[in-house]
Structures are given as C-alpha cells and as structure tokens.
Amino acid sequence: MSEKSFRQAINEALSMEMRRDPNVFLIGEDIAGGTGGDGEEDAWGGVMGVTKGLLGEFGAHRVIDTPISETAYIGAAIGAAATGMRPVAELMFCDFAGVCFDQIMNQAAKLRYMLGGQAKVPLVIRTQCGGGFNAAAQHSQTLHGLFTHIPGLKVVMPSNPYEAKGLLIEAIRDDDPVMYMEHKFMYDDKGEAPDESYTIPLGEACYSRDGEDITVCSLGRMVNLCNQAADELQAENINCTVIDLRCTSPLDEESICESIAETGHLVVVDEGYPRCGFAADIAALAAVQAQSALRAPVKLVTPPHTTIPFAPALEELYIPSVERIKQGIREALGV
C-alpha cells in the first residue's frame, strides 16, 4: 500500500500485466513519443505521460507508436485481439472516437455475436475524457453514453487511483472489449493503493458513503464531487448514500435499486451529455424498476444539452459542480 497518483496507478497496472502476459501490448499515438526521430526516445509516454517508461522496459515491439490513423490502429488492435492477443490501445481523447467509431461500434462490439460466439475480443481502449482544462468542444467530452449504448462493449470509469489500477488490471484480463475512461483532470490526484497486483470486478458498484436520506449515483471524477457535496450537506442534516458505479456497462442495477428502496430519493450526477445519456439511463432504471420506492421526482445533475464551451467562465457553469450537486440533492428532497 502506498500513495500513488492516478497516472502512476494506470502505469503500474499496464506494466504489471505486460510482465505477466506476453500477449499484452500497447499501441497508440505517441504512447512512447519520438519513434523514428533523432531526439529523445520515449519523449512523451503519451500526451499525459501515463505510459512513460514502458518503452524502456518492454521495447518497441510492445509499446507501439503509430501514425495519426485511429481507424487503422484501433482496428488493428481489434484484429489482434480477435486472433489471440490482449492489446491495450490508447485513444488519446475519447472525442476522437468519432474518427474510428466504426471499428468500435461495428467491429469490436459486434464481432463475437456476429460470429456466433467463435470470437472473443479482449481489447482495452484507454481514453481520456472530461472537462476542466478549457480544451473546448472537441477535447472535453465524456462519451461513456455513446459506448454504453452499444451492446458488446463494456465501459469503465474509475474515480481514484485505487480503482484505476484494480479496474484496469481486470479490464485487461477481461475477455470482452472494454472502454476504459480516464478523466483528464484526475491524473495528478493522489490516493492509497496496493503496490501488488489486484483486480476490481467489472459491474460491481461501491458504496462510497452511506446515508439514509437520498441515493446519489455517479462515477469517475464526479464521485469525488458528490462526496464533497455530501460532506457539506451533513451540516444541513442531509445524509447521502453516494454510489460509485465504476462501470456503466455492466451496470450494478441491484445496488442502485436497493439503495433507492432504502432512501426513496435519487439524484444522478454525470458529466456526459444529458439526452440519451448515462444519467437518463439511471433515471430510467429507477422509473422502470424502482418506481414504487421513489418518494419524489428523480433529479439529474448534468451539463445542459449544449456543446462544451471554451471559456473558463462558461465551462465552470457547464460541468456539474459541488454547488450544483448540493442544490440538486436539496431539490430532490424538497428542502
């Protein structure tokens, strides 16, 4: 056990799995950085430095830089997975899913089913999501809603270094294609995590905090904001259960419904787009499976149905904040 950054936790998960299994390899744009050039090798280790150092240990055969051709290399990772490897491909920003979405949606996700169960596609696509860097409309999205929509994909979104490491190791060992979404604002977040290898199962939520008044569901970075909001609301005598869902697909429906049964109130906090998004998905779950337990309307705390703005003054208003979460919880409770 030691304190690690989110970045370190991911790096450790990758290196441990690469040591353990020769079929695991990494591929992506500048995940080493400098390949083929006359300057420093491994100059970047990815745009956020997450894969830094892995080239040195594992070599260019397993830490593979590519041209800027997401369809080609994500597709190649899928083909490698279908033929027996365990690639971890890096899609620099999840926004770039647009340029390789066919390979994700129509190939990776569907191959097993279309082939009548012959194939498995043990692929992880690591990708950055989230706002807060004033990176504007095409570098700030949180597109787990898109991925969750597609049957055949699993979708993971860790909220701290402990989860980052355990969920990534699990994702790499998992036999299905997993979208692993790293919030770009969290790489320097610190937290305790074991130094050895461990796994966290996909599809098991965790109760991040217990409270009898209301159920607050979220995942990824938003969990931390929810916990802070819950902390602060104790002063108002509001006690929240905060559920960290960890995965959107598979989804731990049971934990959500059980908690709603106890609290009778639901707030969902999510950084994705609201329409046909993940928050709506959870609200629908409540309306379908837990309606009788609901004592008040569900409250969703999400961005508006709006493209993501550049200006910090606007982006702050766009992303759910502790203040807006608190307000949402109060509204859900009618206080």
Binding site: P67, G79, A80, T83, M85, R112, Y113, M114, L115, P250
Partner: protein, 326 residues
C-alpha cells in the same frame, strides 16, 4: 506474359480447380434458391472472381489470417470454411458457421484463419492488419491478407491501414479485387489516379494481376506472400476480375453496358481458362475436371438439402454471445 501453367503439380491444380468449382456452384445455387425465396438477408455473390480467392489462399495456412468483405463466400471457401456450415449459415440455421447470427455478410471461421466477411466497406482491412500485427509482436512468420474491392480503396479505413502497414512493416498483403464496380459505380470513375499508383505512393510493393487467370494469380501471389512472410514488408495486389451477378441479389445491373457480362463469361471465365490451359499443358485431363464438376454438384446438392432441413436457432440464442461474461 510468361506461361505460369507449368510450375504447378497436378495435385495442386486439381485441388485449386475443386475449390474454384465449389465456389461457383455455391454461388449459382444461392442465386437460384434466393430467387425462390429460400434465403433471407442481403446476398452478394462472387461468381466470376474465384481465381483470386483460391490463387491467394492456397498459399496460406490456417495460422495465416484473411479478412474479407460483404462478398465473402469465395474467400471463406478458399480459406477452408466448411461448405455445409456455410450453407446452413446463409440459410439462417442454428448449425450455421456463425450459429445463424451472422449470415452471408459475416461468415467467419477463426479456427481456419478466416476473420470474417464484413458488412462495412473497408471495415475488415484494419482487422487483417491486426492479425499481421500479432505476427509482428510475437515475431512469428504468419501473414495476413486483406481482401477488399475497388470501392473499398476509397475508404479511409483502407488507406490508413495501407500507411500503418508500411510504417510498422506489417506482414500483410492488400488484395484489391477490382471487379470494375462498387455497387453501380465504375471503379475507373471512382478512383482518382489509379490503384497501383496510389499503392506505390504509400511505399507498398505493388503488382497488377489478371484475376481471370488462376495460374497467374497463383504464381504471383505465391512469390509475393513468400516475400511478405520473409519480412520484406507489406505488398499490394491490384487484381482485375469480374463479377457475374448483380451487386446484390436483386440488382438488375442496368448500369453495365449490355452484353458485358456475357462477353466476359465467354472470353474470360476463370474456370474456362483454367480448363483450357491446364488440359492443353497436359497438367490434368478434361475427364478429371469433369469428375470434379460432378462431385461438386453432388456436394452442393447435399449442402443445400442439409441447410433446408437444419433446425432454426431458438429463443435463448438471441441473448447469448453478446459478451463472454456480463
């Protein structure tokens, strides 16, 4: 043009003919039975294109991979997929190669190194590169072949992969089957510049082939695949050939000039050319070929009958195999 006939053993020649003849018979049956309403879904037939699939795949083992297209029956058969299981699949039966879940556009058999037909034009090309990438990561001598059409050359997926393969020096052969049309649109119009020049522009070793002539296909593909296997980097085959039926079953193909298909069938049919050349060179006898024709007909009679009788998938099948675990 050199005569490629002689460098082949009779055994290989007969095996090649059998596979080509099987593909043709397979396609003709589906054409007929689809017209009778027996076959569901979208069907794209490759009759006329047999020599390419067979001439290439005969140089591959089950550990070498191919990825195919919507027009994938021929590639599947050439790569060793089972005739009966394929027919069952196309008839949407539970015993089908893909358990009835994929159909004509998604035929695959990973145990034979056939990654899959593909409903997305260009979609299979990166997957083939993935098999080649596996070979590179594991330092094995396996190769991969990406089959795709002239239309697919214009998809980003195809072109990105050509570049990626060159840059990473992947052991892959790009087998572009130029049947003159992408749906209703001529390849001569839809391809800016020309295909070999484009491939060379990516730095690929590039060859132009007459896909009507099995012997040329076989010989050249063999040499090229050997080079790729030896680590000399990716290669590109521009294969000129012809499809006989419409783009899909139901297409009247009025965009083709009248008589075009008849002329090709009369003058360039790959089975006919094979027969002429191989018999003339005394490699095989006409009787041997006739016998194969008959055997193949009987085999296909059996396959169709099996497919007709085979049981349907059941309700539980709907929900299985979305995930390995969920």
């Amino acid at each position: 043009m050199t005569d490629h006939t002689i460098e082949l053993s009779p055994e290989v020649a007969l095996a090649a003919y059998r596979t080509m003849r099987t593909i043709r018979e397979f396609e003709d049956r589906i054409h007929l039975n689809n017209a009778k309403g027996e076959i569901p879904g979208f069907i794209h037939l490759s009759a006329g294109q047999e020599a390419s699939a067979v001439g290439i795949c005969m140089h591959l083992s089950e550990q070498d991979h191919i990825a195919s297209t919507h027009r994938g029956h021929g590639h599947s058969l050439a790569k060793g997929c089972d005739v009966v299981a394929m027919m069952d699949e196309i008839y949407a039966k539970r015993s089908g190669l893909c358990a009835g879940k994929g159909g004509s556009m998604h035929l695959a058999d990973l145990s034979k190194g056939m990654i899959g037909a593909n409903g997305i034009v260009g979609g299979g090309v990166p997957l083939a590169a993935g098999a080649a990438l596996k070979s590179k990561v594991l330092s094995s001598d396996r190769v991969a072949v990406a089959f795709f059409g002239d239309g697919a050359l214009n998809e980003g997926a195809t072109m990105e992969t050509m570049n990626l393969a060159k840059v990473l020096n992947l052991p892959i052969i790009f087998a572009m089957e130029d049947n003159g049309y992408g749906e209703a649109t001529p390849s001569s119009w839809a391809i800016g510049g020309d295909a070999p020049a484009r491939a060379r522009g990516f730095g690929l070793a590039t060859y132009s082939l007459d896909g009507h002539d099995f012997f040329q296909m076989y010989q050249t593909a063999g040499a090229v695949i050997a080079d790729v296997r030896a680590g000399q980097g990716p290669a590109f085959l521009h294969i000129n050939l012809s499809r006989y039926y419409g783009h899909f079953e139901g297409d009247a193909a009025s965009y083709r000039p009248q008589g075009e298909v008849d002329r090709i069938r009369d003058e360039k049919d790959c089975l006919m050319i094979f027969r002429h050349k191989s018999v003339a060179a005394k490699l095989v006898t006409a009787e041997q070929l006739d016998q194969i024709d008959e055997e193949v007909i009987r085999q296909l009679d059996g396959a169709v009958e099996h497919a007709r009788q085979a049981p349907l998938p059941t309700a539980e099948d709907l929900l299985t195999d979305v995930y390995v675990s969920y």
